[in-house]
Symmetry: C2
Amino acid sequence: MRKLETCFSPALYEPGLHSGSMVVVIDILRATTSICTAFLHGAETIIPVSTVEEAREYKRKGYLVAAERDGYVLDFADFGNSPFNFTPDKVAGKTIVYSTTNGTGIINLASSGNEIVIGSFLNITALSEWLSKKEKDVVLFCAGWKNRFNLEDTICAGAIAEKLMATSLYTTNCDSTTAAIDLWSLAKGNLPGYIEKVAQQTRLWSKGLGDCIEYCLTQDFTRVIPVFEDGVLRLIDIDI
Amino acid sequence: MRKLETCFSPALYEPGLHSGSMVVVIDILRATTSICTAFLHGAETIIPVSTVEEAREYKRKGYLVAAERDGYVLDFADFGNSPFNFTPDKVAGKTIVYSTTNGTGIINLASSGNEIVIGSFLNITALSEWLSKKEKDVVLFCAGWKNRFNLEDTICAGAIAEKLMATSLYTTNCDSTTAAIDLWSLAKGNLPGYIEKVAQQTRLWSKGLGDCIEYCLTQDFTRVIPVFEDGVLRLIDIDI
């Protein structure tokens, strides 16, 4: 049996422990939702960078840069972190350098010795089906918020975990996975209602950035599966 | 309004952030349950120590030492971590030096700038009533398991959080607290059934140490409130 584990925060990530696994990076509000959107709209590749300095250096070199901290677009960037920024006219055929508060850093953190794939509600069924065809342990890696636990990434992890456990191909002895599945069981009947309890939606609305939340909770909007290879995210074009 | 926060693991603890708070240390299976039991049975003080070496040094000096790692009693210790070890004949009137895998270390970790109190299902109502009489923010600090999230501490945190929020004296904008309350809402109707999902109960049973689990889930077995002051745990004798 393959093992299924969940990690709630970068502060809880243990690189050695998860070596050789498929790591699903989840940052629902908003990085991994935006990455899925960018590929859906024709982006060629995305280079996730951890620091503001790296993003600025790429901008100097002429790259298209999406970059934010705490919800605010960085002054040198072309646009910020809302999935609504990644429109076909801006991203089709392009390489995008991308840096956000939580999500993009952990892609680099998790990449050592593992295969990385991007998860969101948008691609949840296609992703789960693709994972189940891989003969690998899976780690659901929630970006959290500034190293803390957050609910929106956890319930998405729970939704993916529920699908994977239903295949009977996985086993888990991980309390985080059990908790994520249980929290998803409470949320799934009324996702827009449940999300009102989430701290990050309050933060986004307070900054006038809440308009994308409903979109970020849309299940199966696309079947894109972005993977991280050789320092860049690219789309696996599958038809499963 | 007082703030209520929950921390799922020592790896997530941010000392500066919580400065000046009441910190409730929770390690249900088994350290904080055992501490409550020891005081119920007449212990005078408990000295929590983080390392095996410290515990061994206290033993050399003639102290009564309870010490375990991964469930196993350390060879030099008088007894281990089961609450059933802390019987009146062994602990009444005594000072006990205590070192466990997860729980005792975080008492020292959290003590800087904060008041520390010991929480368990055993003392949950007395503790919650006592906290609500304090004009302080509260942090529910789960010991977890080897820096990871665990369910048993989380549902106890959720049970305490539910009681505190019911007083209308607290506010929370902390997803960990929301998740803990939600998980408690799933667990409380059938606590023995819910606990079967918990990884630590599997670990304890596999080592022949599961006999205390039912006891560790007993709500309101006692009204003792152990606090940590000047390097030792002592009982606050209250009648509320």
